[in-house]
């Protein structure tokens, strides 16, 4: 079944929002207004938004360090993100996490520092859903580089063994930091590893939002119905460098050129315009609106208060008097 026009517009809007936030972040850095480094997901928006689009609010999302895509997709608002990014006490985590976003209300646990440490934590949240007989699904969204981390293996093994409601969503953007994936693993695809545990998998184009959405929807349905884990691999390309301070020089220009032709936002816009789902004027208005929304979120967050010395020593233990 094709996605409804409203749904596609919503996904398109979210992709624009993600790109706008990340471009704003880069701009603030360039202007020297903030120091917070960024890992941008430019070019991957159809993955992060397509993967989170089909999730329910009660579903649990583990996201990655690469930009704000999946967090926007799951429903975080730009002001909350910025207050946290800027280390303000109004942030989601009172500024204690900054880039490591967490949102209890949205069932987003926490963006881990040691990549891959959350493979098994995600299996744990899925185990909780199963034992508590809720029908939540855990979606574990992960870069393909992090699929080489050791715990990927026991995590998949236990998820399959216990038939847990979890989707392993692998974002293959061709890089792990400053090297191509061919230096990290011998195969081109990651998802077939899931077959070793009897986990079904699919490999899909990561540039087309309808494709990513539907593949994920199918995987989530599988997991929610009690059939156990499912793995989807999305093929995309990281158009940004690894992080805002990356000197670059290791990306083949022909790769950039080729993938630029399939920018997910361009592809989606073209389709929306061609199918007359939106007009060019509406499109322009949307961009302007989003730009203003993001600018306002940033300015509001910038003027928020810093955490206090009291904040510094709370939230370590629940039990009083331990620290």
């Amino acid at each position: 079944m094709a996605l409804s026009n409203e749904k596609i517009i919503e996904l398109y809007r979210n992709m624009l929002l993600v790109r706008t936030i990340e471009e704003k972040h880069a701009k603030l850095l360039a202007e020297g207004r903030i120091q917070l480094m960024g890992h941008f997901g430019t070019g991957q928006e159809a993955v992060s938004i397509g993967v989170t689009g089909p999730l329910r609010k009660e579903d649990i999302l583990f996201g990655t360090h690469r930009g704000v895509g999946e967090y926007i997709g799951k429903g975080m608002n730009p002001k909350d993100i910025w207050a946290e990014y800027l280390g303000k006490r109004t942030g989601l985590s009172k500024g204690k996490g900054t880039l490591h976003l967490a949102d209890r209300d949205l069932n987003i646990p926490f963006v881990v520092g040691s990549l891959g440490a959350d493979w098994s934590i995600a299996v744990g949240t899925a185990l909780a859903s199963k034992m508590k007989k809720t029908d939540q699904v855990t979606l574990y969204f992960v870069g393909e580089g992090t699929c080489n981390q050791a715990d990927a293996h026991p995590a998949m093994n236990m998820a399959a063994l216990w038939k847990l409601p979890i989707v392993f969503a692998v974002c293959t953007n061709q890089f792990c930091e400053m090297s191509y994936m061919s230096e990290h693993c011998p195969t081109e695809d990651i998802a077939p590893r899931a077959a070793g545990y009897g986990i079904p998998y699919e490999i899909v184009d990561g540039q087309d939002i309808e494709t990513t959405y539907k593949a994920t929807e199918k995987a989530i349905k599988h997991a929610r119905s009690g059939k156990g884990p499912y793995c989807v691999e999305y093929k995309t390309f990281r158009m940004a460098l690894h992080f805002s301070g990356d000197p670059g020089g290791y990306v083949k220009p022909e790769d950039l050129e080729q993938w630029a032709k399939r920018d997910p936002i361009d592809l989606c816009r073209k389709k929306l315009l061609e199918k007359k789902i939106i007009t060019p004027a509406q499109d322009n208005k949307l961009w302007a609106e989003i730009k203003e929304e993001v600018d306002m979120a940033v300015e509001a967050a910038l003027s928020d208060q810093d955490p206090t010395t009291e904040d510094f020593i709370t939230d370590i233990y629940e039990q009083k008097g331990v620290l």
Partner: protein
């Protein structure tokens, strides 16, 4: 009215009672249905295979699984079979488990209990004999518990399971296997964290001994008593939080401090207590602090070598005498 039960039984009862009391409590780990040393034996009968969950061998990952489950409404009691294997799970324990409450700004509690068997002296050699409590004292956000009696084993483990903070319980193999017995009340009780027990009063020197070393310290104390040396023996019961008050009230009286642990000396718990003595309680000491602990040596399998490694009654006696 009390009953006399073994240390092993105490641990088992604590888990069974808490599982009865709260359906979100469950045990998990490698072969917990059989029970590696019997701590979890029988739970599967009453609570089924889901609440006594056998796992594959992958210590870092099962720690993560327990952590994730704890963040979303369950109260896992995870067994890491040997404390040596805690080292496989250090990232989960120190970087994640102990820190996510803070770095999420208090959004998440992680009510997880990790139980693990420590200690040597039973000829298991390298890899299965270490006492690594001091490897965890540097990590923020954890509570560390080391019961030496059946009463404390039961009461502290129950506190651990009910706590919303992550708690690690160190169970010495000699206490589990050796059948230390002791009285516990018929009725429900818990032992709170951070309260040391004075096992023997004395006025000449303060011996602070953890876990199994408590028994070596008490033997040393009675042998010293024959020589007219009156030692006070303190069992801190929890390493974090540490009951500094009870320890240093005693040192104020005796002027002498001997710390005893089975783990290695450098950067050990004894180092921390000695450092507290010389920084926060400077004027109390009349003699050098003595740290009785294992040397900076791996544990060999050879019985002869293992015996050279272990702190014991005799090394405690020598240490006490050096302070007099």
């Amino acid at each position: 009215m009390g009953r006399t039960i073994s240390y092993l039984q105490a641990l088992n009862e604590a888990m069974a009672e808490e599982m009865r009391r709260d359906p979100s409590v469950f045990v998990m780990g490698e072969d917990v249905q059989m029970g590696a040393f019997g701590q979890t034996a029988g739970l599967v009968k009453e609570f089924g295979t889901e609440r006594a969950l056998n796992t594959p061998i992958c210590e870092n990952a099962i720690t993560g699984v327990a952590m994730g489950a704890a963040m979303f409404g369950l109260r896992p009691v995870l067994e890491i079979m040997f404390c040596d294997f805690i080292m496989l799970a250090m990232d989960e324990i120190c970087n994640q488990l102990g820190q996510w409450r803070y770095v999420s700004g208090g959004q998440y509690s992680i009510p997880i209990t990790i139980r693990t068997a420590i200690g040597g002296g039973i000829r298991m050699g390298y890899g299965h004999s270490q006492s690594l409590e001091s490897q965890l004292i540097q990590a923020p956000g954890l509570i560390l518990v080391e019961p030496s009696t059946p009463y404390d084993a039961k009461g502290l483990l129950k506190s651990a399971i009910r706590s919303n903070d992550p708690v690690i319980v160190f169970e010495h193999k000699k206490l589990i296997l050796g059948g230390v017995s002791g009285e516990v009340p018929e009725e429900e009780y818990i032992v709170p964290f951070g309260e040391a027990a004075i096992r023997k009063e004395g006025k000449d020197a303060t011996v602070v001994a953890f876990g199994f070393m408590q028994y070596e310290a008490l033997s040393a104390a009675s042998e010293l008593a024959n020589e007219g040396i009156d030692v006070e023996v303190i069992d801190p019961r929890t390493i974090v939080p540490l009951d500094k008050k009870t320890i240093f009230n005693s040192v104020e009286k005796t002027g002498r401090l001997i710390t005893v642990e089975e783990g290695r000396i450098r950067g050990g718990i004894g180092a921390e207590i000695a450092a507290l003595a010389v920084s926060e309680y400077f004027d109390l000491l009349d003699a050098p602090v003595q740290r009785v602990a294992a040397p900076m040596v791996p544990i060999a399998g050879s019985p002869a070598l293992e015996d050279m490694y272990m702190p014991n009654k005799d090394s405690i006696i020598r240490a006490v005498k050096r302070t007099l």
